[in-house]
Every structure is written in structure tokens, then in C-alpha cells.
């Protein structure tokens, strides 16, 4: 069953442009320049129950705008979107009870109070029975290892601790869809890894879908089978991550290892790999060769630059 259906989704923002300098600022007072920026143009896709899908794209590609429209935060300028059979922007209680949105760059906990207060409030808002609440909270707090900081003001938590607390608050009502916008942004490598492990574990052990945006390829490589590559508001690719390389990369890499242990790499067109390998092996100094795919980061970069 499709949990998310987006058809020709579009979002246009009104942007006020500023002229340069003081004179420009004065002119802006009586004749401001208003422009329309199309952040998302004609985007269509479907997402099924239990899927973990990654939206990838450079800054300003339209990932977050799409995510905000799916979660009901933004009103689409055009097209249709249905999430769990609801129109998200209407934000019906029944819809909001089944989803959660975590934004890596924004705090959604009560900033001045300990995280536990936000969790308790969520318990009452989502009307979670006490026993279920306690069980879920204990599980999440245990896996994410934040028991020690539950009673510390959110403002005093490190970014990593805060993100973990955000995840607890987002998952406490066991949503059917979790929207994650740049969940690892700003985190150190160890914390990024720990977040990924948690999300992987959560996805394997729960039925809900996870929709994730990120511009860290590691997030996507480790978590998502399916990716939607988006740039300038348009979908460039929607499919398996493993097929991205074959689809977009015309090259393979041949690593040549010499007797002295030196490694040389050659970037070769796919069609010419066998011939090039045979030619390289004729050299007496070569002891071994490896034929590899191009790094996915390079492929994605190529996708964006070739557009």
C-alpha cells in the first residue's frame, strides 16, 4: 500500500530581493523587488509502508521544502499530495497522530526545560497510555543512551544529546511515518554513526516508513535502499541506490598494483575495461589489478554537475 502519493507537487515562494548599498536600501523602501522562486517544480513519486527513502541533493535543491509539504507544514502551490490517506496541509488530528517530523537544524523540545518534560507533554498530547509510554520511553532512552541527561535543560545539552532527545520526542507516540530533515547535520563522525545505527535498528524493528533528507552520502549509503535525487526542484533519479552507479557512471576504476607496492589508478570507460585491463597486465612490473566502481559521491556529484 502506498503511504505517500505525491503528484506534480509544486511550491513557489515569494522572495523580496535587496538592491546593493545604502541607496539600494532606500529605493527598496518605495519600490521593493518581489520575485517568485520555484523551490519545487512538478515532483511526483510514491512511497510504500516500511520503506526508508533518502532524498539527496545539494543545498537549495528542494529536499526540505518537499519534506515540509509531505509533513503538512507547508501549503503546496500546486499538485496533489496524500499521506496516509490525508491531505497533509489540513493537519487533521488523525494525521498528526501518525507522523513525526525531526529537523536537524531546529529544536523542537522545550528549550528551557529538561527533555523529560517535553516527553511527558507528548504523552499527554498524544494520549499514550502510561504503561505503553513508560515501555517506549525506557526502550528509546536505553538504545540512545541518554538516561543521564533526561533531567538536564535542553539548552545545556550537546548537539548530539539534543538530537537523540529530539528522536525520542518524535518516536514516543510510535508514528507510522518519520520525516527526518538532515538528522546528522553538525554532528561529529562518532555521533553521526550512532544516529545511523539507531535509525537502521528502528527501521528494521518497526513497520513505519522513514523519509530522510541529507546531503551526507554516508547517511544515504548506510540507511537507504531507495533514493530520490533532487536538484533545482526536480527529480533527477528515483530508484535503488545500487542502480545509481550503473545508470549515471560511464566509467570504472582500475587499480594497478606494482611489485614495489605502488598503486596507480586509471579511470576507464565501461566498454573499454577488459581491453585496458589486458593491456595493463602485459606489463611485467604489474603484480595485480582491481576493477572497481567509481565512488558514489563522485557519481552523484557528476549527476548534479552534468545537469
Amino acid at each position: 500500500m502506498h503511504t505517500i502519493i505525491a503528484k506534480n507537487l509544486r511550491k513557489v515562494y515569494d522572495v523580496q530581493k535587496k538592491r546593493p548599498g545604502l541607496i539600494g536600501s532606500i529605493r527598496d523602501l518605495y519600490s521593493p523587488i518581489n520575485e517568485q522562486k520555484e523551490a519545487v517544480k512538478d515532483v511526483s513519486f510514491v512511497i510504500d509502508e516500511g520503506e526508508l527513502v533518502g532524498f539527496i541533493g545539494p543545498n537549495g535543491a528542494g529536499k526540505t521544502t518537499t519534506l515540509k509539504m509531505l509533513s503538512g507544514l507547508l501549503y503546496p502551490s500546486g499538485g496533489q499530495v496524500r499521506v496516509l490517506e490525508h491531505e497533509p496541509w489540513k493537519r487533521d488530528d488523525a494525521f498528526l497522530r501518525q507522523i513525526s517530523l525531526v529537523m536537524g537544524q531546529k529544536n523542537q523540545l522545550w528549550w528551557d526545560l529538561p527533555a523529560i518534560e517535553s516527553f511527558n507533554l507528548a504523552r499527554d498530547i498524544y494520549e499514550i497510555p502510561s504503561s505503553k509510554y513508560k515501555k517506549t520511553l525506557d526502550e528509546l532512552v536505553d538504545i540512545l543512551e541518554i538516561k543521564d541527561v533526561l533531567n538536564v535543560q535542553v539548552r545545556k545539552l550537546s548537539l548530539g544529546q539534543r538530537m537523540k532527545a529530539e528522536l525520542v520526542a518524535a518516536l514516543i507516540h510510535s508514528p507510522k511515518i518519520l520525516f527526518l530533515d538532515e538528522p546528522t547535520i553538525g554532528l561529529d563522525v562518532v555521533m553521526q554513526q550512532s544516529m545511523r545505527q539507531f535509525l537502521k535498528h528502528y527501521n528494521e524493528n518497526n513497520d513505519g516508513s522513514i523519509i530522510l533528507t541529507s546531503h551526507y552520502m554516508d547517511d544515504v549509503k548506510e540507511l537507504c535502499k531507495r533514493v530520490i535525487i533532487i536538484d533545482q526542484g526536480e527529480i533527477l533519479y528515483d530508484g535503488l541506490l545500487s542502480d545509481v552507479i550503473a545508470k549515471f557512471s560511464k566509467h570504472k576504476i582500475i587499480e594497478v598494483i606494482s611489485a614495489t607496492g605502488q598503486i596507480k589508478t586509471h579511470k576507464v570507460l565501461r566498454a573499454g575495461v577488459a581491453a585496458k585491463a589486458a593491456e595493463l597486465l602485459k606489463d611485467q612490473a604489474v603484480v595485480d589489478i582491481n576493477i572497481k566502481e567509481v565512488e558514489i559521491e563522485d557519481v552523484i556529484r557528476q549527476v548534479f554537475t552534468s545537469k
Binding site: 509533513s71 507544514l73 501549503y75 493537519r91 523542537q108 504523552r123 499527554d124 498524544y126
Partner: protein
């Protein structure tokens, strides 16, 4: 119901976190009483009357507006504009809770907090300045006052929603807010009783929603408003009209909400 109690409690906890802010706000409330007190003392302290008000009558009025101000004008919805501009509005928007209820419960928490402190401040003001206090004993007058205060609370709530919602379309929300504050200081009757104004100005001001915030409830308490039933109907009219306008603006505004980052 639990969700609203929980929200009420968390709002109070949030207020208590900022101790210095809390203390300074209370000091401000005392000054709000002291400034007109000294002005009127210099005018009427030597005896006599102005527009039918003696010093003691005007002090009763000011003492009353100080109490009412805390109750009617205690508000967290005042932060709405900032919440829209900073994207913080996203937090309540993404929860299954009626957004107006969310803001109203937070307003109630603020009012209860104010009222609690009034019990400390009022005796203090009373013992230092001995303003004459009139204790209303007529039950009907008290009932009318309660109705008038309730309507005043709602009028102020909707005014704040409407002004806060301007942030959906513009980032310049401070100037309109200041303008509103200045108008309110005058038109609510916080600084002086509105029946001191010439009759034509009284009529004009009474056609705006502002006098129904402080002046009308206080006159209801003092039992000195011959047109109290008409004024209560006007209060009801303003609650309905402003409530309707607030809902419309809110619905329209949400379609422009961009949930920007902090």
C-alpha cells in the same frame, strides 16, 4: 483535558526558569501603578476634583486597572509574531492539539502567574500608598464584572492572534505591536478613566474594542456604568467579530507559513 493541564504546567515551569525576568516584570507592574499615581497626586493631591473624580476616586480606579491589567493583559500569545518569524510555530503546529487552545491555555498560565504575584504586590502597594479601595458587595455587579472580564480576556486574546499573524506576511511586526501598545495605554482607560474625555471622544473610543479590556470591566465592578448591559453586548460583539477575523486571518496566514529556520 490532560494535555491542557500538562501544557498549563509546562508553561508555568517555563516562566519560572527566567527568574530575573520574572522579578523585573513584577517591578515593572509596580511602576505601571506608580507612574499615574504620582501624576495624579501632583494634580489632585491638594484636594478638589477633575471631571468629577477626586484623588481617592481616581486612585480606586487606578488600583482597579492595575489588578485587571494583570488578569486581562497577561499573555503568551504576544510571542506569536516571533514564533512565526523564527519557525518555532512548527512545534505546536505539528502536534494534534487545536492551535488556538494551545495559545489560550498558555495565556491562562500567564494570567494565573500574574494573579499569584498580585497577592504579594497588592498588599505592598496598599500599605505604602493607602489608595482607597472599594469592595463591591452587590452580587449582580460582581457577576457583570466576571462576564465583562471573561469577554475582555477573549478580546485581548484575539487581538494578539490578529497582530501576531501579521508575521505570516511581513517581518516588520515590532512597529505595529508598539503602535498597538501605545493606543491601548490610552484607549483601554489604563492611564485615566475614559469618562474624563469629551462625550464625542468617549463615543468614538467606545466604538473600538479597547475600552472593553479595562475601562468597561472596571466600571462594572464599581457599579458606576449606567449603560453596562449595552457595553456587555458590545463586548460580545467584539469577541465574535475579532474571533471570526482571527480565524480567517489565521487560515489564510497558514497558507503563507514558510517554517523558516532559526
Amino acid at each position: 483535558m490532560n494535555k491542557y493541564l500538562s501544557l498549563f504546567s509546562i508553561t508555568l515551569q517555563e516562566i519560572f526558569t527566567y527568574r530575573l525576568n520574572m522579578v523585573m516584570w513584577r517591578v515593572r507592574q509596580i511602576f505601571v501603578f506608580l507612574i499615574p499615581f504620582f501624576i495624579w497626586k501632583s494634580v489632585l493631591g491638594g484636594g478638589g476634583e477633575v471631571y468629577g473624580y477626586s484623588f481617592s476616586a481616581i486612585m480606586t480606579y487606578l488600583f482597579g486597572t492595575t489588578v485587571l491589567r494583570s488578569l486581562v493583559m497577561g499573555s503568551r500569545t504576544i510571542d506569536l509574531g516571533w514564533m512565526i518569524n523564527s519557525g518555532t510555530l512548527t512545534i505546536p503546529l505539528m502536534r494534534p492539539i487545536k492551535i488556538f487552545n494551545f495559545f489560550f491555555v498558555r495565556d491562562l498560565a500567564d494570567k494565573i502567574f500574574n494573579l499569584g504575584f498580585m497577592f504579594i504586590e497588592l498588599p505592598l502597594i496598599y500599605f505604602i500608598f493607602h489608595p482607597p479601595v472599594f469592595l463591591q458587595t452587590d452580587l449582580l455587579a460582581l457577576l457583570l464584572t466576571a462576564c465583562s472580564v471573561l469577554l475582555a480576556v477573549l478580546i485581548y486574546f484575539y487581538i494578539n492572534i490578529i497582530f501576531g499573524s501579521l508575521a505570516f506576511w511581513t517581518r516588520d511586526i515590532w512597529a505595529p505591536r508598539f503602535l498597538l501598545m501605545v493606543i491601548m495605554e490610552f484607549a483601554t482607560g489604563a492611564m485615566f478613566p475614559l469618562d474624563m474625555l469629551p462625550p464625542i471622544w468617549q463615543k468614538i473610543v467606545l466604538m473600538t474594542p479597547f475600552p472593553y479590556l479595562l475601562y468597561v470591566p472596571l466600571k462594572a465592578y464599581l457599579g458606576t456604568d449606567p449603560n453596562i448591559s449595552t457595553h456587555l453586548l458590545f463586548s460580545l460583539f467584539w469577541v465574535t467579530t475579532l474571533g471570526l477575523v482571527a480565524s480567517l486571518i489565521w487560515k489564510k496566514g497558514l497558507t503563507s507559513y514558510e517554517a523558516e529556520g532559526r
